[in-house]
């Protein structure tokens, strides 16, 4: 039986460089997996392939049994909004929308907006008092919590996080990681988290280490 995430012989070549050089990876559903490695090792590229934001030049990516190569651009968009939640290093919020609207934007693209549900999601990440604040009125940690709420509002099966604490101080990093841990325990979605911070990677159940576009180590922590 195929794992929830399966990557087979994935290569990603750009005009001047190869970001991935034959990656094979299987992640079971509900697992929290950290991908670590130095800059340029291919972590983010692998994460983009898993999220359908990019395609491998060679190899295959299966998510929940679906070969992403077979999806058209619109099918891929639908796949993303139904199955995947993203958290990026920068908060990447729409600057002119309030926290609530930023979360509801994800609902809008998914199906239909429900402000009470969006409000509840923000309360779950501790931002019940910041519903109508714009990103510029929030701290970095608060902004990232909004992206967590936005990523999870449509109950995705996978949460893909690319250096989610890269711009945060230790205190806020801890807050975010505790939040992710709590939500993961409650909902058991699969997490693939890219980081180069050992403090962050240790929250996972499995750590995959990459270097020069290849997986060089794969160790379960639990």
């Amino acid at each position: 039986m195929m794992d929830f995430i399966t990557v087979r012989g994935a290569h990603r070549e750009y005009q001047t460089a190869s970001a991935l050089r034959g990656v094979d990876l299987e992640i079971a559903g509900g697992v929290w997996c950290s991908i670590v490695g130095p800059s340029g090792s291919g972590k983010s590229t692998l994460l983009n392939l898993l999220g359908g934001l990019d395609s491998p030049t060679k190899g295959q990516v299966f998510i929940d049994g679906v070969d992403l190569r077979t999806l058209s651009e619109n099918e891929m968009a639908r796949f993303r909004r139904e199955k995947i939640g993203f958290i990026f290093q920068q908060s990447y919020l729409i600057p002119y929308l309030s926290s609530l609207d930023n979360v509801m934007l994800s609902q809008y693209f998914h199906s239909m907006t429900d402000s009470s549900e969006a409000e509840e999601a923000l309360k779950r990440v501790g931002l019940g008092h910041r519903l109508h604040h714009r990103p510029s009125e929030l701290s970095g940690g608060e902004q990232q919590r909004v992206t967590v709420a936005r990523a999870l509002i449509n109950s995705p099966k996978i949460l893909l996080a690319d250096e989610p604490t890269g711009n945060l101080d230790r205190e806020n990093t801890k807050l975010i990681m505790e939040l992710l841990k709590r939500l993961h325990e409650e909902e058991r979605f699969t997490i693939v988290l890219v980081t180069h911070d050992p403090f962050v990677s240790k929250w996972a159940e499995r750590i995959v280490t990459m270097e020069d576009g290849r997986i060089i180590k794969d160790e379960p922590l639990y």
Binding site: A77, Q107, Y108, F109
Partner: protein
């Protein structure tokens, strides 16, 4: 959510949005003014072209043995006013009857065989069933006739300029026409065959020739719709529906047909060189107007497109993020087209308002009359503006759809 996105998009890009609305409204205003002109221009230019002369001539129908025997037939004077009762009666702007006969003109010891013409120079005719009157006569169909003196009244005659020179006749002299004395009331110069003829009042001519109530031709000046391919079809081969459409369109041929129906024994023929010239002139003017309209709309759409692309470049992160969190092509298109819808509607309404003023100024400058306002142009203007905005959005939408979220998110990092 869409409304919220649109509201913020407009608030954040006030200048750009205002530029786009202005661009759309300018293009729409020019196109709507030109369309207003084209709607009115046909009538006005057609009226101007009426100075070319009558475009329909009614002559007696000569058929069968009468034609073979060369027997002369006449039209009835009483039928003339019936021409103002046809379906397109309001398009009849001039009617002039003529009774042309050979006659002998004498002045002193000089005698000439000439063509004498009995006509009306200016005569008010009561319209059947109406209190209003219709001014008929040569002046209504051939306004370029220059008469030195005055038109012929009872017992008077107007001579063509070359004829008067040949005989040495001047205004006020007396001449004999078929031995009857007539006073020369004026000299007419047209530059045509009329310069060698003599013109009497129609009644005098009828009396002179013993043809009371008769006329030999009726010249009609009618405002017509330019002839198109359909107009040249043979009405006898048309389906009932086609025939109705042809009959109810103001083609010179359909008006001629209607005239034949009211003038007993008459055959109405378009004066083709005039009718065709009108058709060509009006057709070319219409084509010019349509091309200018299309050019202004296209220029406007380019303006919108350029501004929108510039706006898109500022929103790359936003669009990339939307795509990353699951927006598909249609949802992105909806956002851009909704903006275009607002810009188009605002630009269309503004363009219509401006076009009213432009059309008035152009109408006054060119035709001396303000063109009429047409409420119909409001939806047309809005539709054109929406088209401009939609065309202007095509390139930005195409570029937005090509945005790769991974590249944008990576590039911005």
């Amino acid at each position: 959510m869409l409304l919220s996105l649109l509201k913020h998009s407009f608030l954040r890009q006030k200048k750009a949005m205002a530029m786009m609305v202005v661009s759309v409204s300018m293009g729409t205003a020019i196109a709507a003014s030109l369309i207003a002109l084209s709607m009115d221009i046909k009538g006005k230019v057609s009226k101007e072209l009426r100075s070319f002369g009558a475009n329909i001539t009614v002559t007696p129908k000569i058929e069968g043995i009468a034609g073979i025997a060369g027997q002369r037939r006449y039209l009835r004077e009483e039928d003339i006013i019936r021409i103002k009762t046809i379906f397109w009666r309001h398009n009849i702007v001039g009617i002039a009857p003529a009774l042309e006969e050979n006659a002998e003109l004498s002045y002193g010891d000089k005698r000439r065989k000439i063509t004498a013409v009995g006509t009306w120079f200016k005569k008010e005719l009561p319209l059947p069933g109406e209190t209003a009157k219709f001014e008929a006569g040569v002046t209504t169909v051939s306004p370029w006739w220059a008469i030195e003196g005055s038109p012929p009244e009872a017992g008077g005659v107007v001579l063509g300029s070359s004829l008067s020179r040949e005989l040495g006749v001047r205004e006020g002299d007396e001449v004999l026409l078929d031995e009857r004395p007539f006073k020369v009331t004026g000299i007419v110069e047209t530059g045509g065959i009329e310069d060698g003829r003599a013109f009497l009042d129609l009644w005098d001519m009828q009396q002179l020739k013993g043809l009371p109530g008769k006329v030999s031709t009726i010249s009609v000046s009618a405002l017509t719709t330019p002839m198109d391919e359909f107009a040249y079809k043979d009405p006898s081969l048309m389906s009932r529906k086609e025939y109705e459409k042809w009959y109810c369109t103001g083609y010179v041929t359909s008006i001629a047909k209607q005239i034949e129906e009211v003038v007993a024994g008459g055959r109405a023929k378009p004066v083709w060189h005039i009718a065709e010239t009108e058709g060509i002139v009006l057709g070319r003017m219409s084509m010019l107007i349509y091309l200018l309209s299309a050019a202004s709309l296209l220029a406007s759409a380019l303006g919108v497109s350029t501004t929108m692309v510039a706006g898109l470049l500022r929103r790359l992160d936003e669009i990339g993020l939307m795509k990353a969190i699951g927006a598909d092509g249609i949802q992105i298109i909806v956002i851009f087209l909704s903006e275009a819808l607002i810009i188009g509607t605002a630009g269309g309404i503004a363009g219509y308002v401006v076009s009213i003023g432009v059309a008035k100024v152009v109408g006054l400058k060119v035709f001396g009359v303000a063109l009429s306002e047409r409420a119909l142009l409001l939806p047309v203007s809005v539709a054109m503006a929406l088209l401009i905005a939609a065309i202007g959005s095509l390139l930005p939408i195409r570029r937005a759809l090509k945005i790769k979220p991974a590249v944008i998110l990576k590039g911005a990092r």
